[in-house]
């Protein structure tokens, strides 16, 4: 994977994805090493995303690397009207790897084509956020021992959530059975369902989440965002439909784990946090190991 940018999860084959997960497991055991001592990683955040940026910066810092960049475009030359191309060419002269988040869709693919150094997409608008997908795969494997033949439920906004789309597509490599829980107006788009059908896998659709909890190995919760609704009454109706609390965790499989890409609003009550099923904080931490693995693979250091 040396020198290979990661823009879209499908840029990496199943085998390459597994290599990253295996390497991430090594970093989980030994997250502080000095392998990036001579390297500079640029983190260019054209829109703020504190969680994602801190996760990348923690990953680099714990491996002894240096970080340059900016955390939102208001403080950079972009504000003065510099084109993305010029910014990327300039920064690629100063660094060995670029991590970029940008609200414009397709900006990451374009940036990787003008950059002299490899680039990791840390989110390009509603399009792709592949490191989230890798850390989700890592977390599922960590909790279940493997990725094959699992029953995975996705709950909430399945229409606009790019996190869900990418993870569903990635899981199609592992004979997953999908349980899709959402309001009618936020169902998984047919373009994503096509991937499930192409692999001859099964999916079930529900509007009530109580029906699925006893059946699944992974319960992946998402938040429903207000800005997706033109009608605020509709949002009010839907927003409280899927709130998971401790009492709902009855008659469950013993290996059930609850994931969430974070931050949560009210989808998971805090009384769930101390149950053995809650795994969303660990999931966020796994992001650091996965990003360490990815950065080192791309730089050809592992």
């Amino acid at each position: 994977m040396k020198g290979k940018s990661l823009i879209s999860i499908n840029d990496y084959s199943k085998e390459e994805q597994i290599k990253i997960l295996d390497l991430a497991a090594e970093f989980e055991k030994n997250p502080v090493q000095n392998i990036l001592e001579k390297y500079v990683v640029a983190t260019l955040f054209f829109e703020p995303s504190t969680r994602t940026r801190l996760s990348f910066e923690s990953a680099v810092s714990r491996l002894g690397g240096k970080i340059i960049g900016f955390s939102d475009s208001s403080s950079s030359s972009v504000k003065k009207g510099e084109s993305l191309k010029d910014t990327i060419i300039t920064v690629s002269n100063y660094s060995d790897l670029i991590v970029m988040r940008n609200p414009v869709e397709g900006s990451a693919r374009y940036a990787s084509e003008v950059s002299k150094v490899p680039l990791i997409n840390a989110g390009d608008g509603a399009n792709q956020h592949p490191t989230q997908t890798l850390l989700d795969l890592y977390t599922i494997r960590q909790t279940q021992g493997n990725l094959d033949n699992l029953h995975v439920a996705f709950v909430g906004d399945l229409k606009y959530g790019r996190t869900v789309h990418s993870l569903v597509i990635a899981l199609c490599n592992y004979n997953t059975t999908f349980h899709l829980v959402s309001p009618i107006e936020l169902k998984l788009p047919s373009a994503v369902k096509m991937h499930i059908k192409d692999k001859n896998l099964t999916y079930f659709q529900y509007t009530d989440m109580n029906d699925v909890i006893p059946q699944v190995d992974i319960l992946y919760m998402t938040r429903i965002q207000k800005e997706r609704f033109s009608d605020s009454l509709e949002y009010e109706r839907v927003k409280n439909l899927y709130i998971l609390n401790k009492n709902m965790l009855k008659g469950i499989k013993e290996n059930l784990k609850i994931l969430h890409p974070m931050p949560r609003v009210n989808e998971i009550s805090t009384d769930v946090d101390n149950t053995p099923q809650a795994h969303y904080f660990q999931q966020a931490l796994n992001g650091v190991y996965v990003r360490q693995a990815l950065i080192c693979s791309i730089l050809g250091l592992k």
Binding site: S8, K85, G106, G125
Partner: protein, 150 residues
């Protein structure tokens, strides 16, 4: 309506026939004929048995690469290309939509990098019958209902 364009027959060159009337000038633009230096005849709103009306372009001493001509398929999917030498038709082909399209059409997604910075569009054609263009950058699908020429 005039039945046939009254012009002298072409000795050597290319005729592009069965262009939808409303897209004749689009085809000229795609083939970059605005700066064409020899005889160029354009007809539009002509009678067509098959399509109601049609447009036609005749170019003397001009021959195209097939690849080049296929670029017009998005604007004129039923166009025929006729190659003439010594007043005789030596080749007649219908255009074919190519597998990849660069430039020519816009990505319909207003938040795509190609609509925000000076980045030429690039698409993979994922369906030709029911036209679907997959944007190389934002990965969204532009289709027949929202296609716009540049």
């Amino acid at each position: 309506m005039v039945k046939e364009l009254k012009v002298s027959a072409l000795e050597n060159g290319t005729v592009i026939d069965h262009i939808p009337s409303e897209n004749v000038f689009q085809v000229i633009k795609i083939l970059n004929l605005e700066k064409f230096k020899t005889h160029l005849l354009i007809g539009t709103n002509l009678e067509s048995k098959k399509y109601g009306t049609k447009g036609i372009i005749k170019l003397s001493n001009k021959f195209f690469d097939k690849e080049d001509v296929n670029k017009i398929a998005l604007a004129a999917p039923n166009a025929t290309l006729i190659v003439i030498k010594d007043f005789r038709i030596i080749e007649k082909n219908t255009v074919r939509i190519p597998d990849k399209i660069e430039g020519i059409v816009k990505c319909f997604n207003p938040n795509c990098i190609t609509n925000i910075e000076q980045v030429p569009t690039k698409f993979e054609v994922i369906s030709k019958d029911d036209l679907k263009l997959h944007c190389h950058y934002c990965e969204k699908i532009t289709n027949k209902t929202n296609i716009v020429f540049i």
